[in-house]
Amino acid sequence: MDVKFESWKEIIKDENIVFKKTKVLTDNVLSYCPGCGHGVAHRLIAETIEEMGIQDQTIGIAPVGCSVLAYEFFDIDMQQAAHGRATALATAIKRLYPNKFVFTYQGDGDLAAIGGNETLHACNRGENIVVIFINNGIYGMTGGQMAPTTLDGMVTSTSPYGRDPQIMGHPIHMTELVAKLPGTYYVTRQSVHKPANVRKAKKAIRKAFENQQQNKGLSFIEIVSNCNSGWKMTPIEANKWMEENMFKVFPLGDIKVEGQIIKEL
């Protein structure tokens, strides 16, 4: 087969393109492990920004964790926050620029452990921002340590014999916690491991940004994700393990819609 570039020019034409990278993502190569959910989550946010035509009005906040370099991948203005403080940054930006769109992108260690206080209070104040919370139950970047959302019995490098809740506490349900705060308007838990889930997650993200556009208050989207490297599994095994174990503890679906809790907590 002729694979010289010249021959592909005949094929790569505008009328033949059915799927391409959104312009709100840069050309930088993602730093995430193959099989990780971060790439899809990034893409869904970027697509939403593109579709709503708000690239020039959006300011994103990157956390500390695997997605610390998120600012390399979004073609928008971004700030990189100290560990856990993203919602404090977002609070100030949104209050100082009420007409701009502000979102944070945080992992479980960032949002639920070290940044627990900032998260709860930003939610309680009802800051008009979007919080994207990637929960994979482990510290990925530092090499697979126990997270606040690590499941009971789950083996990590700092719970090598499995998480013992008597000693190490229980997995924290930040999303249920913030749903109970009057400041949150939309709270949902999604995943991005299968096409149907990707579509639902996309809808949720779009709804969150529209809520911000309509000054409705804080939208909080948890995305239960995998960490095949940290969990020491293949991507396929990790997704299966996530369905069988993570979803039991962190069930998917909307929790609070239009300021009303719709699920028994």
Binding site: Q55, Q57, F74, D77, Q79, A88, A92
Partner: protein, 360 residues
Amino acid sequence: MGEIRLMMGNEAIAEAAIRAGCDGYFGYPITPQSEVLEYLMAEKPYERTGMVVLQAESEVASINMLYGGGAAGKRVMTTSSSPGISLMQEGISYMAGAEIPCLIANVVRGGPGLGTIQPSQSDYFQATKGGGHGDYYLFVLAPSSVQEMSDFVKLGFEMAFKYRNPVMILSDGVIGQVMEKVELFDPIPRRTEEEIIKECPWATTGKTPNRERNIITSLDLDPIRQEKHVMHLKEKYEKMKEDAMWENIKTDDAEYLIVAYGSSARIGQKTVDLARAEGIKVGLYRPITLYPFPDKELERLSKQVKGILSVEMSLGQLVEDVRLAVHDRVPVEHYGRVGGSIHTPFQVLNALKEKIVNKY
């Protein structure tokens, strides 16, 4: 002439913030500076100028709110006192690394730990040697009057944006709580979004099609690039020396010198008069910027005096910078009360006689 009012130091800072075109104040109550937030909440600056005022959930949150607002090019400010400033050190280090302008006022109280709510000057090292982790410095202004509490807010914002660096007003419980006459400067309008984009092309104001995206971060995993960045910061700190400020009081014919800043300088001024009444020719050298430390003028003065007493409400922190500037040319001794106690002009005079005049 500006409007004259009788104000508390903390109130003067708050009023000056509104007048200096501050866009956002984010704070957390702590004695002895809670009057700043109280004044602002009562004054409703959001009605006067559109300025945002928010009581944060902690000093950790308020300093990170400064990070967000400052990185978006806004004039942002917080105030606190020693234990709260310790909590802010993480955010301050990140802001120094990411080159974010902001204004922080520390109305110092005695430590260590929860210490006391009474005045002290024991945060000198923390303010002038960085304070958080990493190689960095703040631009540090030391007011010694309510007038300067007001004036340095305006100056502080100028320096913060001139150097893209956090600026600290290092005050103390005396200057924060005392009431004095203050001449307020005329209000400066808050900048429009267009003006911010012009003045701060680096700020995260939204990526418009005519430019590349703006990223504010203190992270660079490449050690060569990070080294280059730290060396760039060093050049900035060197350049700050051009803005070093000081005040000489009765130093022309001085045979002895008191070096003191902030409230200790006010006390030292009285000591100078008491000493001169006894025929001892004493002058006072008051550093106004503590970083950059105004060492050249102090070095010059050290050539004309027989000895120097460094006076501060601490175990001896300023005295180290004094000794570095003086190069052992003349004896330098330290005197100061600690833990929230304040020295009197007579105690300083006695220390001056005992440690310096009677010996040299």
